[in-house]
Symmetry: C2
Subunit: 138 residues, 2 copies
């Protein structure tokens, strides 16, 4: 993996969060592969398979959401040939109030020509603090 590849993947990930903050479907659409094999798990949702389902979910989310700011941190980037995995923690905060929501995200991109297109997004709520006593898997 070259530093240029890593930078291109990190840029694709950054653009995804820019699109999420914009709440603009066309901006989000440009981040994704439009293939049947893409999939998406929004926080607390069942998995959506195929670009058509994923596209509808973003349209529904953007239609129902209010302005928010989106940031991310704790980013890790892994490349293996034409596939890249980006892990990060998302921070989503409604403009004008409310506690920010923190999510753990697994984002997978695939290279097509010079572009890295999102093929999978999985986000789930994460606690703000590390309390091993309270955790369980079911």
């Amino acid at each position: 993996m070259s530093p240029a590849d890593t930078a291109a993947v990190a840029e694709a990930n950054r653009r995804f969060y820019e699109a999420l903050q914009s709440r603009d479907f066309e901006t989000m659409e440009r981040c994704w592969s439009h293939e049947p094999e893409v999939s998406c798990v929004h926080p607390g949702w069942h998995r959506l398979d195929g670009w058509d389902e994923v596209a509808r979910s973003w349209q529904a989310i953007f239609k129902n959401s209010r302005p928010w700011t989106v940031a991310f941190e704790d980013e890790r980037v892994f490349l293996a040939g034409t596939i890249a995995v980006v892990l990060c923690a998302e921070k989503i905060e409604s403009v004008g109030g409310g506690e920010p929501a923190r999510m753990e995200a697994t984002n997978i991109f695939r290279r097509r020509g010079p572009a890295w297109e999102m093929v999978h997004h999985h986000a789930s709520p994460s606690p703000e603090t590390e309390t091993e006593e309270e955790i369980s898997v079911n």
Copy 2:
């Protein structure tokens, strides 16, 4: 991707859920790469980075858990060279009662020699039914 590769990845994924059901740390340990770059997001947890942290989490989970049965369904397998992504829905049920918990999982494996080792696991609670009216991203 050859059918043999796909079968080997599906088998690695199956072994992971067998290990989860066994609640035996050594069985789970054999499913994973032991590299610093592995990571894991258990349902409702913050992300754990590196095999040492991930190992400790499985030890804690198995120490505190009671017998359960683990199944999975809706599996999708994608291969790209030495990386494989398996998406599936987990069903975890306590032996002797309780509602089964349903989780959406993103599992990533890396090939090392003939073996496919887990390098990332992300699981999060999923609703049993599809109620688009109730969903939100934050």
